[in-house]
Structures are given as C-alpha cells and as structure tokens.
Symmetry: C2
Subunit: 430 residues, 2 copies
C-alpha cells in the first residue's frame, strides 16, 4: 500500500490560496469584496530588493542545493543577531519555507502535534507524509503554541490511541492569532518537549513583524532547547516577497542537526534542486540586513500593527472576543458572546460565519475550521495586510503614513468592515 | 508507522547534484576536472529571457497555484504546436518539473515502473512517496523506455511479488542515453500500458533538443493514449534555465485528467504555493515561442548535437559501444568490449569506472549504477553540455560556431577527454 492509497480527504487547494483565487475571480467580475482571507503582506518589493533580483538574473545555472555559501553565511548572521549563534552549515534555503517544512515532514519519524488553530498547511503536509496530526487547543492569552496541560493530555491520548507523536510545531509569532507566546510559556513547553522527547519545529516567519519589540519579547525555543529545535522562516511575510518564494531553515548544531540537514538536503535534491539562482542573490542580500532592509522591516511592522489594531478594535466593538494582536497581520476573533444574535441570521458555526460575511457583508475571511479549530466555534482568521491598497502608490503611502488607518483609501475599507460587522451583530448585546 | 519510518537508504544528495558540487569544490581548490557529470545546459540565458525576468521582478505577490492564465495559455499553445490540442486547464506550472513529478508521485496510487537506466530522481521520489519502483531494462537501440517484452515480464514479476505497478515513466527523448524512442516502439509500449491499465508519465524535458528533427521523429505517448498520459517538461534544458526553476505538466483532458490536476494543485498549494512570480512572466513569454525563442532552441539543439557526437566518436574510438546520440546532451557508453583491459587497471564495475576516470583522468561522469543500471556493468552517463566554456563569451561563441568542436577552448577539453579515455583503454583491443 502506498502512503496515499487512502488520501486523507478529497483533493482540494489549500483554503487560503483557494480563497485568494476566488476573491480575484469575483473582483474581476465586478464584485466589491474586502479581502481579509489571505495572509499576504500586500506591499511592494522595495527598490533595493528589485535591484538585487535584476543583478541576480544571470544566475541561470543550478546552484548548490542548500544555498550558496554567501546566502548561508548571511542567514547564519541573521540568526546570530537574534541570540542564536549559527554556522552556515546549519542553514538550508529553499523556494519558500513551505517545501522545507514538507521536507522535514518526510525526513522526521513519527506523528505531529499542532496548536489548534494553526496555519492551514501543517496538517495537510503531515498527511501527505503519511503522518497523523494531533491538534492541541491554544491558551487564552496567545496562539501558536498548545496549552501546556492540554499538550500533556494530548500526548497521552495520542499514544493510547496508537499514535507516535514525535514532533511539536510552534508558531512564534503566531498565524492565525497575531500574538506572541510569552517567554515563560515557551520555557514550559520546552520542558515538556524535553521530558517527552519531542523535536520542536519553530515557525518564525513572522518574527521580524513584532509590532513593538520593546513590549513584546520573543524567545525562540531554539534558545531554550538548541539541540532539538529546527527554525523555519522566510522573506514572504517580513519583506512582502511571497511571490518570490524564498525560505530557509536552521537545524541544530551537532550530529542530530547534521542528520536532519542531510535528510532535508537529500529531499531537496530529489524534489526541487535548489532555490532559484536570482532569488539566492536576493536572499543573501536581505538576510545580510543592511540599514535599508532593517528600516523596511521596521516600517512594515509598524504598518501591520496599526491596521491589525484598527480591525481588532472594530471586532471588539462589534461584540467579539479577540486576543490583541502584537505581531504580524492577523486577528482571530471569537463571536461566542454574540452566539444568540448570530443564530438569528443563520450563523451557527465557522462555516456559516465565513459564508455570511462573504455573501451578506462582502468580507472574505478564513473560518476557524479551515485552521483545525472547532467547526462549531464562531471564529475566523482575518488578515489585515490586504487593506493597504491596490496600487504601489497607495501601499507606499500606507507605509509612510503616521496614521495609516486615516488614509482615505484605507478608512473607506475599514468603514465597510464596520458596516459588515454591524450587519452580522446589529441588535445584539454582548 | 510513517511512510518513512524505514527510509529506503541513508540520506544523500541526489548524485548528479552531489557530483556538481564536488567538482565545484575541487576546481575551487585548483584541480583541473573535465566535468561530464552533470546534466546542465551550460549556456547563458538569452537577452530576451533576461529582459522578461527583469520585467517580472515586480511580481512579488502570491500568484495562482497552477500558474497565471497567460502562462497556462502559452503552454497550451506550445503543446498545440506539437500535435497535442490542449486546454489551459490541463496545465500546471511549478518550480521545475521535479516538484511536479513528486506531486504526481504523491497523488497517484500504486507502484512505478521505470526504464533502466533512467534519470536519477525518479526512483528516490517514488521511495519518498512510499512507493516501490521496478526497473525494466531498455532496448538495444534507444533508452528512456523499457524493452516491451521486458516490461510485460516485469509487470508479472512485480505483481507476483506483491507489487502494484500502476504508472510507467518514459523519458522521450532520453536522459541518460541521448536517444529518442522510435514511434513504433512508443506505440507498442502504449498498447501494453492500455492492456495493463497503466498511467504513463512522459518526461519530455528534452523534446526541443532533438538534434535533427527531420531524421528523428518524436511521438509523444500522449498522442497515442491521450486519456492516460501526463507530460512533464520545463525550460531547464531547452533554454538552459536550470537555475530559474521553471517546469510544467500537461494532464489529460476529461475527468481523469481533472482529478489528477486537482491532486497536483492540492499538493502544490500545500507544499510550494506557486511558481515564483517573475518566473511565471518568463515562462509565459518562452512558451509563447516567439521567433527569437524558436531560433535559440534551434541553435542550442545544433550545438548540443555537435558536441554529443564529438564525445560519442571519442568513446567509440576508445573501444566502447554507445548508442549514437540524437537528442539532448548525453551519451551513455558501455565499455563491456574492453572489460579485460579495464580489469587490468582495477576497473571492474560502474563505481570503479567512475572513480578511475575522476582520479586518474580528471573526468567526472555519473556511473550507471547511480541511474539504476546494473552495478557490474561498465557504463556511465556523460553530459557533453558542460564543454561549451566557462564564460558567457565562450558559450556564445560555441553557439555561433559552424564547427564548435574546433573552437580552441573546446578542442582542448576534447583532447583531454581523448587522453583520459586512452589512459583507461590503452593497450586493449576491442
């Protein structure tokens, strides 16, 4: 029997990408849709990045599978500036962090523990690799990590049911909640991981988009458990380069890390050969973090924070509970307090909530069920990074604005969100 | 148990990429090595292609998973000009044909039949997807396809041993033999595939590099069995864009093809999102085949043919048997007639032959065992496309030359190959 003789479900496009294509089609047909359904930093590539891509255009030969020495050295420096001394041999680059995460799934033994909710590709990747994925609810204060007590219970239950959980995925900062697990919580989870002999995959692709680094400390699990933590990251979110497909992983130092690296490089060499040459040039430059890149990261993080907070405010005023966003460009509201009101509109679960917002309010969101969350819960993910405007000029104006939410082209959309939420919640009391 | 609880072998980099990196290291350390070990069309990206990459640099947002409508329409046109009417919905683009082939492995049920020898990533990909791969010897006249009688026997033997062969991979034109299976043979194999209910994956990435299309007809299995043939191709070989990572597949029309397409798009959406935006722009342009692209393909094919024939001549004069190359840039000699002579030098199999050529003659090749061939056979793959020169100027001169083998920088290397083969075979008689 092959790994996929019994596929886990009918084949479907990953829901975030599917929503993005659906919105593009409906907009092309003339519909007005507020697109909060896709986690894309909708900002231009900065001029220095464009120049590097042009400079690298001549790299049309196959490069080293793991990345050029320049690129891996730059990434090692990047981690070094984040309290993680790194040898370039610990770095593997690829066409996005996604294929690197898939390679890890193919290389690592055992099943996978996931926070619940979490990014919508972790579980399907595990299934493609023939693994079982066990979801563990997140705490009340933040997402991206399981509640510690829930984690212990989930491991026991998984083992009792014949599962073999060996890997725990953490998302720090988190997609979908836009929050950062506090250091003390990271340490508690690391202690459990050590006791239970788990490998940690820390997805830190939003790491450089903390809205206010002074008030929101980030502790990577790799600082606590260096020998059993793999970090995945990339430039899709921080520098808005989703369409350029650039990702990297950092494996532990030492024999365990080397074995993992060899496994990932082996899979890479059979499945995608290498990151495209021009992109290697871009990545080597960006991970070197010259001043203009550091400035850009800072400016982007500020903008993301402003709009995430603005939408968070609208959601809370409409009656939802919602963790305040502190990183990235997502909010993850829970309309449980409004359940009775929503039920009068036929909205009783994640799916009907997503559908009502699209059909009745012209707002595309990703229902929590798509992220592994309880389908009965009235939760969704809203990406606020698609509000910056449709043109390069609008987006650059948003980046430059002291109060981007007040820009007319953004205020208009925020008003439409407010009106849509009013249609959902009007007449209800919390 | 996960799909990989028992990995099929220790993790290693795919041997062609590993050799390429080894040669780069040894050259960097000052060694002179004739590099025939890597199947790269070592030619510059043409100016029009470079311009398109620059034009597409601003595409930094996530595009459609299967490729932009413009790209898919261009690819449909490309196949249409090759006697295969194609709807854009039948096309999926990706970062190289390799990940698309891997996605097919993950989506398709059952085990895989491969020609023996064949490209070195088919079998590892099948193993990563939890499949068994059954090699079937190629005929005497050409590679890339199994001998028909051998195929029937292999299917029976596989089934008797508990295997479930459901897919047959053909490489037309072939890597590693540089030959094209004749149409009559393709038709015989298609008849068997229909009788045995096999799906065909036809890897046609060398299709546009037939040295003389007037004397070497190419019949795609998709023309014979349209409803059960998937074609994989890309721009890495034909336009020397290996480092840009651009590939496409064409699935059958109709429900079976749609299901396959949905499967591949689903895997793509979870594993790599999409082909990078700038590369989509390049690919849409190239598959449109304006005159300058058609000219480039023609010029490249002519150069590949000249050098493949030159190296073929050296091998045959040294005493090897070798199918005359008619497409692509490989030759696949068999030194069986020289076995006694080679044995006196300690060369008794594929591995010692590869080692002798590297250590004693400074020539890097890929031993046949790396391609699934009998390890005891004295066969290797030599890529002749790395002889065109190290600089853009040398490579363009090779493209422009009426007799590229006579160019001093190429003649010098051919002489070194001749001397190396002499060291291997001197004193022997065939």
């Amino acid at each position: 029997m092959t790994a996929l003789a019994a596929p886990p479900r009918r084949w479907r496009t990953s829901p975030n990408l599917a929503i993005n294509e659906m919105v593009a089609r409906r907009r092309a047909a003339g519909e007005q849709i507020v697109h909060l359904g896709f986690g894309e930093a909708r900002l231009p590539a900065s001029e220095p990045l464009l120049r590097r891509l042009v400079d690298g255009a001549g790299r049309n030969t196959y490069g080293p599978v793991a990345g050029t020495p320049e690129l891996r050295a730059a990434v090692a420096g990047y981690f070094g500036r984040r309290r993680l001394a790194t040898d370039p041999e610990q770095v593997v680059a690829g066409p996005g962090s996604k294929p690197l995460l898939m390679a890890l799934n193919l290389v690592l033994p055992g099943d996978v523990l996931l926070p619940r909710p979490c990014w919508n590709s972790y579980a399907p990747q595990a299934a493609l690799a023939g693994k079982r994925a066990f979801g563990v609810p997140i705490p009340a204060e933040c997402g991206g990590v399981p509640d510690p007590d829930g984690l212990r219970r989930a491991i026991q239950a998984a083992r009792a049911g014949g599962g073999d959980p060996r890997t725990l995925v953490l998302t720090v900062p988190d997609n979908p909640t836009g929050t950062v697990a506090p250091p003390a919580l990271i340490r508690r989870l690391c202690a459990i991981a050590e006791e239970e002999d788990l490998l940690l995959i820390s997805d830190e692709i939003y790491r450089d988009l903390v809205h206010d680094p002074h008030t929101t400390p980030v502790l990577s699990p790799a600082e606590v458990l260096p020998e059993r933590t793999v970090i995945a990251t990339g430039l899709s979110k921080s520098l808005a380069l989703g369409g350029w497909r650039i990702g990297v992983i950092r494996v532990p130092a030492g024999p365990r890390g080397e074995q993992l690296r060899d496994g990932v490089v082996s899979v890479a060499s059979e499945v995608w050969s290498s990151l495209a040459g021009p992109m290697q040039e871009v990545a080597a430059y960006a991970y070197g973090e010259p001043p203009e890149i550091r400035d850009r990261l800072h400016t982007c993080a500020r903008l993301h924070g402003a709009l995430a907070r603005a939408v968070h405010g609208l959601l809370v005023r409409a009656g939802a509970e919602c963790r305040p966003p502190t990183a990235g460009f997502y909010v993850y509201p829970d309309f449980a307090p409004m359940r009775a009101t929503l039920a009068r509109r036929g909205v009783t679960d994640s799916a009907s909530l997503q559908r009502f917002l699209l059909d009745e309010a012209g707002i595309a969101v990703l229902g929590g069920a798509q992220l592994g969350d309880d389908p009965a819960a009235l939760r969704f993910k809203a990406a606020t990074s698609t509000l910056y405007g449709e043109t390069r000029n609008e987006q650059e104006a948003a980046l430059a604005a002291a109060d981007p939410a007040a820009l007319p082209h953004i205020a208009t959309v925020l008003n439409r969100i407010e009106a849509g939420l009013d249609r959902l919640c009007a007449g209800g009391i919390r």
